[in-house]
């Protein structure tokens, strides 16, 4: 047995090849195993299929066989909670994905779905292993198939710490959250060389598919990090808000803030004059449990803020307009960002709180032609479909289509709370008067009539009382009571049950 144990020890030692580790370190990157160490609780990692090897003999591939086939898979714990993981090893054939590599990933994906545990994929791969032909493409297909099967059942997180090119991009794209590192992660369907060949455009990796391109411009990624250690720290932070699967409630932490704290600062932050901008992030931070706000997609569609936070220790999803950017209006990108987040929250039993200060959907030919109707419809769809508790707090403006999407009780909000400064209307007073009284105003020579009508319109709709008289606003509160009110409301809504008619699935406009 002693001999056999030493053979095992040697095989195991080879898994931790120092020579290969140095290749990675020279590039300023961590190895697959170091990444897992950083992500998982100390000593908690169990590796699966460590000795699996590629079995293709095309192009003399058998000479390149290495135990593990360029991916480390298994399970471990993060803050004591079970997760499945896989980390691609770029030091073996560029981390390329072949038949067995894919099979290993698929195995942990299956286990994650069947046991209801989150899965985290650490991606650092040159893409499909060309020598294995269609087998490697089929490997991707199997992975994608399981991403979709697990979507909305267990949280799926992709950490990109190297290239993710071609078809390989779609595995992160099908997962819930994508982390990228500046000057290290790249995602693109066709690389710079092919683009140059086909269209003649010259572009480098970072500008084509770097972390900031996907965080700021394309909206593919959710987090941009300055270094890869940051990713692992943020994955842990993110997981603390999430249940292990769709049948569990998100974990409550002991609150570090008092439930009935008055939000005194809100009076300073939000100007009463609704034409004056302010930073909505300060409002969020004043309302939620101290230091609990965790923003998502911070660099993309900044006119909308989404993120997770805690209220009295319970996780909530926050959706808010940012008056500081594009007046806080909804446009195509903000619609996509909000809709996907709301569906995520709904899938994982996280209540949603809207902080509304929105002038409407962004007008313009470009938006119309690019399909603001189709994209804007996603927000309506996501909120109307969601069965988790949904609360809207109207701070100041809530106009037109954006009113419907973010604060109409008839769309399914369980509670609509308004500040005394709330304005709920189809459009601004001046525009409304011009349309409603257009002919009379043209016929009349004096401007007095217009002023009269504007002020009449103002007093009727530029307050929350008309909507409240119609029962469309449940409460009008002192802004300072926002936190206490939300905590109380959510406590009563926590047991909400809403049954839907059975169907295969709805058809969300995409």
């Amino acid at each position: 047995m002693k001999d056999k144990n030493s053979i095992l020890a040697n095989r195991k030692k080879e898994l931790f090849s120092q020579a290969r580790a140095e290749v990675q370190h020279e590039k300023g990157k961590l190895t697959a195993r170091e990444r897992l160490d950083m992500l998982l609780d100390k000593g908690s990692f169990t590796e699966l299929e460590a000795f699996a090897r590629l079995r293709s003999h095309e192009f003399n591939l058998q000479e390149k066989q290495v135990d593990g086939d360029a991916v480390v898979t298994g399970y471990g714990t993060i803050s004591g909670r079970k997760v499945y993981v896989y980390a691609q090893d770029a030091t073996v054939m560029g981390g390329s994905l072949g038949e067995i590599h894919a099979k290993k990933i698929v195995h942990v994906q299956d286990l994650s779905l069947q046991t209801g545990c989150p899965i985290i994929g650490i991606i650092d791969s040159g893409g499909a292993r060309i020598q294995e032909g269609v087998s490697s493409l089929d490997g991707y297909a199997e992975i994608f198939q399981r991403c979709v099967a697990a979507s909305g059942v267990v949280p799926q997180i992709a950490v990109i710490v190297g290239p993710s090119a071609g078809g390989a991009c779609y595995s992160p794209a099908l997962m819930d959250f994508v982390f990228m590192v500046k000057d290290m992660s790249y995602m693109f369907i066709t690389g710079p060389q092919v683009i140059k060949l086909v269209t003649g455009e010259e572009i480098d990796f970072e500008k084509l598919g770097g972390a900031m391109v996907h965080n700021q411009t394309s909206g593919v990624a959710h987090f941009a990090m300055a270094n890869e250690e940051g990713c692992f720290h943020f994955v842990k932070k993110l997981l603390r808000f999430l249940p292990a699967n769709n049948l569990e409630d998100p974990p409550r932490l002991a609150p570090e803030d008092t439930a009935d704290r008055m939000c005194e600062r809100l009076l300073e932050i939000v100007p009463v004059d609704s034409t004056k901008p302010y930073d909505m992030k300060e409002v969020i931070e004043e309302i939620v449990d101290k230091d609990s706000f965790f923003g998502l997609q911070r660099f993309y569609a900044k006119n909308a803020i989404i993120g997770l936070a805690r209220l009295d220790g319970y996780p909530v999803g926050i959706v808010a307009n940012q008056p500081k950017v594009l007046a806080g209006c909804l446009d195509i990108d903000a619609s996509d960002k909000i809709a996907r987040f709301v569906r995520f929250c709904d899938a994982f039993n996280i209540p949603v709180v809207n902080l509304v200060d929105v002038p409407g959907y962004l007008p313009g030919v470009d938006q119309e032609h690019r399909g603001i109707i189709r994209h804007g419809a996603k927000i309506l769809y996501a909120y109307a479909e969601a069965t988790v508790p949904k609360i809207a707090v109207v701070l100041r403006k809530s106009y037109g289509g954006a009113y419907i999407a973010l604060s109409s009780k008839k769309l399914g909000y369980d509670q609509v709370i308004a500040w005394p400064s709330a304005e709920l209307a189809v459009m601004g007073a001046e525009q409304a008067v011009d349309i409603v009284y257009g002919r009379e105003l043209r016929d009349s020579s004096s401007t007095r009539l217009r002023q009269e009508k504007v002020s009449e319109f103002r007093s009727k709709f530029m307050t929350p009382y008309t909507a409240a008289e119609m029962g469309q606003v449940d409460m009008i509160i002192d802004p300072r009571e926002t936190r206490a009110t939300l905590i109380q409301s959510l406590a009563f809504l926590r047991t909400k049950r809403q049954v839907r008619v059975r169907r295969k699935h709805g058809i969300i406009p995409v």
Binding site: F234, A327, P359, Y399
Partner: protein, 136 residues
Amino acid sequence: MPHEEYKATIKIKGRKLKLRIEEKDPESIFVAIEGDTYRVRTSDLITRRDWSKQRDEDEDMYLDEEGNTVVSPIPGVIARLAVGEREDVQKGQVLLLLLAMKMENEICSPRDGTVKRIRVQEGQAVQANDVLLEFE
């Protein structure tokens, strides 16, 4: 769970302090300093590199703005110019106020520089992507 313990001596402003660090469970580490014991939650721990860059206000992360012009992000009316031609401005400084979508939107400078030409006047209507001003 293996139980690990380390000892260290650190010097702060000339004063020597003895530390005893114990890894208790996946959740926490105990740090004893001169007889006082603190519990550090591992979830709050920060690993090897500098984390200061992972914050919201980190402007370095953004892609560099290309070109020498500032364009209107949204259709509206120029409410007020906050800078003049030849004036030096800093990144983040308010250049002008744009009245749009029932809001006075602050248009801020994307970078440090000198304003070469202002292409709009107060009260003028602009479309999205219209050039508002040029840098040197």
